[in-house]
């Protein structure tokens, strides 16, 4: 498939179309909305499905030597991207130190839904991937939060509340991390035979339920955009699109060094390029309460997520192809 085919195929996939439907409905001020309880349950389901899939793969493939290097590289990326993001933000935007640090945390951490959409894109392209990428995803959630907190402590010592240790514990035990890692381990232990009876739910329905979830994400993103427009200055929008590209470029180089498969490289690049929207926002409300939540929520969900979904994913697949054996 050429680049254009990829891009168009992605834009016409139900996953992207339902997200667009949600954004459109919200911007048109339709009263359509998903119950919060169902959205939360869908998020848990997606983490379970992703975790199980990765665990089963690992039980099938055995532990590969790259695993340890990829996990370490992921953790390092998650820890370092915030410093870069913070620098860029301070340079090009007028955000204060605390707001900039809070935004930076989101771009170092990862978005599990973007990861899920990347898995869907790989399915469409008929590509597999290393099962342990789920572990990499889990490992990348937290370091960015720590990094951002350290940055904020330096820049505005009075703004950061609570101890780093306490926050590390909270972020590490965040529900999404626990479900992801837990389901990964369950899939690993149970193996292909054990997971087979539950595959109708966790495999067959995955892509359909992802559409449901993306309709909801579109609604939330659209509502956020129309409410928080005033926070979205041109430099911030530029950041929301440019930062994923920078992270993707760095991750592409690392993926080359790690020798990942095309699918694995694509997931690794996507993780780096994605911005958190579950774990990081909650952690920032606790650790940096002075930071304005509308800024990071709108930037992450309203700008970077749609960009990654519509344009980023096919691009990251092209990048991954260019560096994989």
């Amino acid at each position: 498939m050429g680049a254009l085919d990829l891009a168009v195929g992605n834009l016409l996939s139900p996953v992207v179309l339902f997200f667009a439907l949600g954004v459109g409905a919200a911007l048109a001020r339709s009263d359509l909305s998903f119950p919060e309880a169902v959205a939360k349950a869908l998020a848990i389901y997606l983490m379970m499905a992703i975790g199980l899939k990765g665990g089963v793969e690992v039980s099938r493939q055995g532990l590969q030597p790259q695993l340890i290097w990829t996990v370490l590289a992921g953790a390092a990326l998650s820890f370092l991207i915030p410093a870069l993001a913070y620098g860029v933000l301070r340079l090009i935007s007028r955000l204060g130190a605390v707001d900039a640090a809070a935004v930076a945390a989101h771009y170092g951490s990862i978005s599990a839904v973007t990861f899920a959409a990347a898995l869907d894109a790989l399915s469409r392209a008929g590509l597999g991937s290393e099962g342990y990428m789920v572990a990499v995803a889990a490992v990348m959630e937290t370091p960015a939060i720590m990094a951002a907190l350290l940055i904020a402590r330096r820049a505005a010592p009075e703004a950061a509340t609570g101890s780093v240790g306490h926050l590390l514990r909270e972020a590490g035990l965040n529900g999404s991390v626990v479900v992801l890692v837990g389901s990964f381990v369950v899939g690993w232990i149970a193996g292909p035979a054990g997971v087979k009876p539950i595959a109708p739910l966790f495999v067959d329905l995955f892509r359909g339920l992802l559409c449901l979830f993306l309709l909801d994400m579109g609604l939330v993103a659209g509502r956020g955009l129309s409410r928080a427009r005033r926070f979205l200055t041109a430099p911030l929008i530029l950041f929301g699109i440019g930062m994923p590209l920078i992270s993707a470029a760095i991750a592409t180089a690392i993926a080359l060094g790690l020798g990942l498969s095309t699918g694995g490289a694509m997931l690794f690049i996507t993780l780096a390029a994605s911005a958190s929207y579950i774990a990081a926002p909650a952690a920032m409300r606790i650790a940096l309460p002075q930071a304005e939540p509308a800024i990071y929520l709108t930037l992450s969900l309203g700008v970077t997520f749609p960009f990654n979904l519509a344009i980023g994913l096919p691009l990251y697949l092209l990048l991954a192809r260019s560096v994989s054996p």
Binding site: F34, E36, A39, Y277, P293
Partner: protein, 103 residues
């Protein structure tokens, strides 16, 4: 009916900070409290809405705590120190309770 004058504190607080507030109430040995959900709202930070949210970062909950007037000041002091930079409002009113031994 035998009634006893007490104070009712209502705290509307962003969800991620709820555990912090409850930890304070527990530490001060408040006799009890109840947390109520909120659906939507608006304030100086703009409007919010729980519909479809996965993260609790942007939403509020309400804490209700009925307590004796003698404990009011210490409780408000501790709570308002914690709330310093946080998104929250706190209101106090007078109530009469039955079964006063519970408070």
């Amino acid at each position: 009916m035998d009634m006893h004058a007490k104070k009712k504190i209502e705290i509307i607080i962003e969800a991620p900070a709820l555990n912090g507030v409850l930890a304070i109430l527990d530490r001060l040995q408040a006799t009890g409290y109840t947390v109520l959900p909120a659906l939507a709202g608006s304030g100086r930070h703009g409007p919010w809405d729980e519909a479809g949210q996965v993260t609790s970062a942007g939403r509020m909950v309400a804490v209700l705590c009925i307590l004796d007037a003698t404990r009011l000041d210490a409780t408000l002091e501790a709570v308002s120190a914690y709330l310093a930079n946080r998104i929250a409002i706190v209101a106090v009113s007078d109530v009469q309770v039955i079964r006063g031994a519970h408070f």
